[in-house]
Symmetry: C2
Subunit: 242 residues, 2 copies
């Protein structure tokens, strides 16, 4: 399984993915589902992947090979992030058209992506690319998108994330969302790759690979867990009914 999360805010973007890949219990591996494409002072693009690993790796590998080629699928040439999303969707269709029917007897060949970033002249944007290659864009009214194991990590975001959130607050909530997901689904695992991208910085420097032993991560989840226990205990029990 996989968990990928993108958040778009006026202050910037948070993009994060886990690292567990599994094809049955005897084939568990660590992979990076986080693809970063940058062009100095011009664009920062993050592509997060979920689904069939052969499919999603083919998509990102081919897109990386195209960089600077000037072809219609060159992410350096895309004038908008909408165009980047269209290119990712088209490439996904190409790969599934080529491999899909051969893979189908063995398992699901499909994949999906979150594409977030900023291209000079635009605000930061965030797109979700479906298995069909079509896509939707996040807005301030629904400022986060998830792919993979999306449910366990959604309540904390539904409760606490809003468009006025500072970027660092959103990054903290993103990590709490990963914590909830990993507690309830063992097939989502560390390390977490996470970028905090600040609007108009065109810098991907604030990027980390958080391991299970990372001091901030361990302290965050312990403090949250203890705080939540205290909070629940502080609430009065239901009255006697009947």
């Amino acid at each position: 399984m996989t968990y990928c999360l993108g958040i778009v805010l006026p202050e910037g973007l948070v993009m994060a993915s886990d690292s567990r890949s599994n094809a049955g219990v005897d084939q568990v591996a660590l992979v990076r589902k986080f693809e970063l494409v940058t062009q100095p002072a011009n664009r920062v693009i993050v592509i997060l992947s979920a689904g069939n690993l052969a499919t999603t790796q083919s998509v990102t590998t081919q897109l990386r090979e195209n960089l600077g080629s000037g072809c219609v699928q060159d992410l350096f040439g895309a004038p908008t992030l909408y165009e980047v999303a269209r290119i990712v969707g088209d490439k996904l269709r190409e790969v599934t058209a080529r491999d899909g029917s051969s893979v189908q007897p063995y398992g699901d060949p499909t994949g999906s992506f979150l594409v977030g970033g900023q291209i000079m002249g635009e605000s930061p944007r965030l797109f979700q690319i479906y298995s069909a290659g079509n896509f939707i864009e996040a807005t301030l009214r629904s400022c986060f998108m998830q792919i993979g194991e999306t449910k366990y990590g959604k309540p904390i975001l539904d409760r606490a994330l809003n468009p006025d959130c500072p970027l660092d607050e959103a990054a903290k909530l993103a990590l709490l969302s990963f914590d909830a997901t990993m507690r309830s689904n063992l097939s989502v695992g560390m390390p977490i790759d996470m970028l905090r991208y600040r609007t108009d910085s065109f810098s991907a420097a604030n990027m980390a690979m958080l391991t299970a032993e990372d001091p901030y991560w361990t302290s965050l989840r312990a403090s949250y867990s203890n705080g939540l226990s205290s909070l629940v205990q502080s609430l009065p029990p239901p009255p006697i009914w009947g």
Copy 2:
């Protein structure tokens, strides 16, 4: 959609269900998914239902008609809660054998159940009956079971529920689990039917139907929401990386 939750503890049982039934957006109704069967000083049995409403209502209606009949599917005659689970599973197989192929072209005919309760001579027990009519029993090592929209409400239980929980604490956690579910999935809705059953009481008196306006419910969710926001805000943001 539906959310049903059962918790079994040394102190007793918490059994709870929501009331939203929907078959497409234009056919939303309120139904009770909570079936209570009691025999004074001898047994308290709760059957919670999820899935195709026609199927699950047929099961519970026929089982209610059988009460006191002395037939092999008489819940008053079952010597153990295991036997009750077997009867519910058998009845589910009968109903789906009769209706399944006719219903299939229009939608999923299957249903599932949580069966919790106590029969004189046993401790309280909790079973989950699958669509296939087979079933599993909860243990202290995994003391809660869910059917329907199970994911959003699972993190709070994974974190805070343990076998040493007092019954009232478990009831509070159950309501917080419903709150999380209803915030993230609009097709789970009020009122909530909930029984707190205390071991060896053979009484179903501590039973409530909580509406959206219930003062305890509104105060619980507001306090939890505010407390969670304060907790998240009190945690330090991630350090700058890179």
